[in-house]
């Protein structure tokens, strides 16, 4: 009686362990296979060049340029930005470089790891920059600055340098890589519209807008107390089924094995 019980328990644990998603391997970021290299960069938030995670960027620029790229992010994603600035020509002194990340509302995003503001000595031929971002959440209070789904801007620039070095050519390599995706975000809420900026030219309204007709509130009787159909329904239902099956198995284990 004992041995089968222990054995079935072990099988159960092993089965569960196998099905748990493997933790994302932290390897050096590499571009996605087959991704086309981007050879452009914007010079402002409005003109930022759109890229995708895993798409390598290689662009020639001049020292002092503020280079902008933007990439889309979904809830649950974790991004890391790595960049290398190489100097084909000699410089007169040390320079400090920075990679900054902003969300769709141009709010500064924190880097959790990486050399965000390294200094290149006068003799260095290249400098490496990095920034690991926080996991994108599916919902946050409007008053908070948590990372939300939508567009993210990357700005690469030099913050401190001897003035004669301005204008010298540089080569910039940049890669936005995605570290692990698919983990369901821990939040329940959902952002109705992702933080994608409206880039169309605006129009000044001439008069106060008139009141709009109220929307129909016909969501039915059930809508009041029935929670939204979410993945929690599926998880819980499957859990219930598993519990019932396990109960039957447990009950069966206590029966004396039939003798032939």
């Amino acid at each position: 009686m004992r041995t089968p019980l222990i054995r079935s328990g072990a099988v159960l644990v092993a089965a569960t362990a196998l099905t748990l998603p493997a933790a994302p391997a932290l390897a050096a970021p590499t571009p996605s296979p087959g991704a086309a290299t981007v050879t452009k960069a914007g010079t402002s938030f409005l003109t930022a060049t759109g890229i995708a995670a895993g798409q390598p960027v290689r662009v020639g620029a001049s020292t002092g340029d503020h280079l902008y790229w933007s990439f889309p992010a979904r809830a649950g994603q974790l991004h890391e930005i790595t960049a290398t600035v190489s100097f084909p020509k000699g410089r007169t002194g040390a320079s400090t470089w920075t990679v900054e990340v902003f969300d769709g509302l141009r709010r500064r995003q924190a880097c959790t790891a990486g050399a965000q503001t390294p200094t290149a000595t006068a003799s260095a031929t290249s400098v490496a920059l990095g920034c690991a971002l926080r996991q994108v959440r599916s919902w946050a209070e409007p008053w908070s600055a948590d990372p939300l789904p939508g567009t993210y801007y990357v700005r690469l620039s030099v913050v401190d340098l001897p003035e004669p070095d301005l204008g010298l050519p540089i080569d910039v390599d940049l890669l936005v890589s995605e570290l692990g995706d698919g983990d369901a975000p821990a939040d329940d809420g959902e952002l109705k519209a992702p933080l994608v900026p409206n880039t169309k030219a605006g129009t000044v309204l001439t008069g106060e807008p008139s009141a709009a007709p109220a929307e129909d509130d016909d969501e039915g009787l059930l809508a009041g107390w029935l929670p939204d159909l979410s993945s929690r329904w599926i998880w819980t239902t499957i859990g219930g089924v598993l519990a019932a099956v396990a109960g039957v198995v447990g009950f069966a284990l206590t029966r004396r094995p039939r003798r032939p």
């Binding site: 099905t19 709010r107 919902w139 959902e190 001439t206 008069g207 206590t254």
Partner: protein
């Protein structure tokens, strides 16, 4: 034993099913996509402004004269020009050979008008250029802006020079700032040919004042590559031009803004007000960038606040920094509360608050105020103000999620399964004990 084997098989099958279902459920997020760009009414417009003053004769680029290098670069750029781009070429200091500064400083001509480029004609016009006269950069910039005309899209000037302006006043940097402050968006990118310190300072100042870039070219390849890059950039980004708006000093008479991008000018320590109507159940999103288009002290900050019409602050976005940067930005989100009992906190003093069951919902007017903490350096001009870029969007608000009634995740499944198993075992043992006791009696 048979029982056990069968039940574990069933369990495994169930777990496998959940593994398949799990990720499918998790993949439901909205894919953020950029707003569809409308087809622009105008083609991209670029003008190359080339200095043909006497100093361009110097043979210091790969043993060739500066003008020869520039001519070669122009030929290659004209050959590689994108079809839709309208290109013009203007020269300065190309014709007057005399010594009279007054006459020499009027010497600027458009040798290729802005429009569809006739390649042979443009190359022929460039090939005849001989380095000659003075360097009236300011006047050339003004004329180039006139050549490009006005409109709703951005225009770009690429200024290529090797020497500083010899005709100030007007100071070319002041001219650039004045041109950038006019209604049409104009970007001046500058290229220094083997520049010295004075030229570099002047070109940096011009580029900064208009949001352009500066590069120094020491070889023909560098020059060609850079001009091509700028012409391509003009084609890619010329539609990104915000609408001009003038913020006011108080909220009640501030301009009422629809969603979109706006540009304005703000002086040091000035406050600029705007208004945005937001309905119940909507969320206001706003962001602002202030450009550092002139020399300022190293520490700086920008503050964007949303207030109710009676002056109560609703939310603020703030960012500060130190050192060299192009723009300082801040953003904010604010949701108009949909619930009627919360209207007191959301509605403004002057706006009528909708009552429950009302057929209409009047929008709340939210005031946005932009202020800056920049400090001018001695000698920095305050007028015109620094460029502001304001983005306003009104979208459906995202209400706070209610507490979860149900569970999710692998731990839940294991817990429920273990609970079921233990219940089954206990029930089984109890049954056996009960049957045994019942049989004995």
């Amino acid at each position: 034993m048979i029982n056990i084997r069968r039940s574990t098989t069933v369990l495994r099958g169930l777990l496998a099913a959940t593994v398949l279902v799990g990720p499918v459920v998790a993949l439901g997020g909205p894919a953020p996509a950029r707003a569809d760009e409308e087809t622009p009414a105008e083609p991209p417009r670029v003008e190359l402004v080339l200095d043909v003053s006497g100093s361009m004769r110097a043979r210091d680029i790969d043993g060739r004269s500066r003008i020869a290098v520039a001519q070669q670069a122009f030929n290659e750029v004209v050959d590689a020009l994108p079809e839709e781009t309208q290109l013009g070429i203007r020269v300065l200091g190309a014709t007057y050979k005399g010594k009279d500064k007054k006459v020499g400083c009027q010497d600027t001509q458009q040798i290729v008008p802005v429009g569809q480029v006739d390649r042979t004609q443009a190359k022929a016009a460039v090939a005849t250029l001989r380095p000659t006269g003075f360097t009236p950069v300011g006047l050339a910039l003004r004329s180039a802006a006139r050549d490009l005309g006005t409109g709703t899209t951005a225009r770009r000037i690429v200024l290529i020079t090797d020497g500083e302006d010899t005709c100030a006043p007007p100071d070319p940097c002041e001219v650039a700032r004045e041109l950038a402050a006019q209604g049409t968006k104009l970007v001046v990118d500058t290229l220094g040919l083997a520049p010295d310190e004075k030229v570099r300072r002047q070109l940096l100042c011009i580029a900064n004042a208009t949001g352009g870039t500066y590069a120094s070219a020491q070889s023909a390849d560098e020059l060609t590559g850079r001009i091509k890059q700028l012409v391509d950039r003009a084609r890619d980004t010329y539609t990104a031009a915000p609408a001009v708006v003038g913020g006011s000093a108080r909220c009640p008479d501030a301009p009422l803004l629809a969603p979109g991008v706006y540009t304005d000018r703000e002086q040091f320590s000035e406050h600029r007000w705007y208004r945005v109507p937001v309905r119940a159940g909507q969320e206001l999103r706003a962001s602002v960038s202030i450009a550092l288009d002139r020399p300022v002290n190293p520490d700086h900050g920008v503050l964007l606040r949303a207030t109710a019409p009676d002056g109560r602050e609703l939310v603020r976005g703030v960012d500060a920094g130190s050192g060299r940067t192009d723009v300082v930005s801040a953003g904010l989100r604010w949701s108009a509360v949909a619930d009627s009992e919360d209207e007191d906190s959301a509605g403004g003093g002057e706006t009528p608050t909708p009552t429950p069951g009302d057929a209409t919902a009047a929008p709340t007017t939210v005031c946005l105020v932009v202020s800056n903490a920049f400090a001018p350096r001695p000698g920095t001009r305050a007028d015109p103000g620094m460029p502001i870029e304001l983005t306003v969007d009104v979208v459906a608000s995202s209400p706070a999620p209610a507490g979860p009634d149900l569970g999710r995740g692998w731990v839940l499944l294991v817990l429920l399964t273990l609970a079921g198993l233990i219940t089954g075992l206990v029930a089984g043992l109890l049954t056996r004990w009960w049957v045994a006791t019942w049989r004995e009696n």
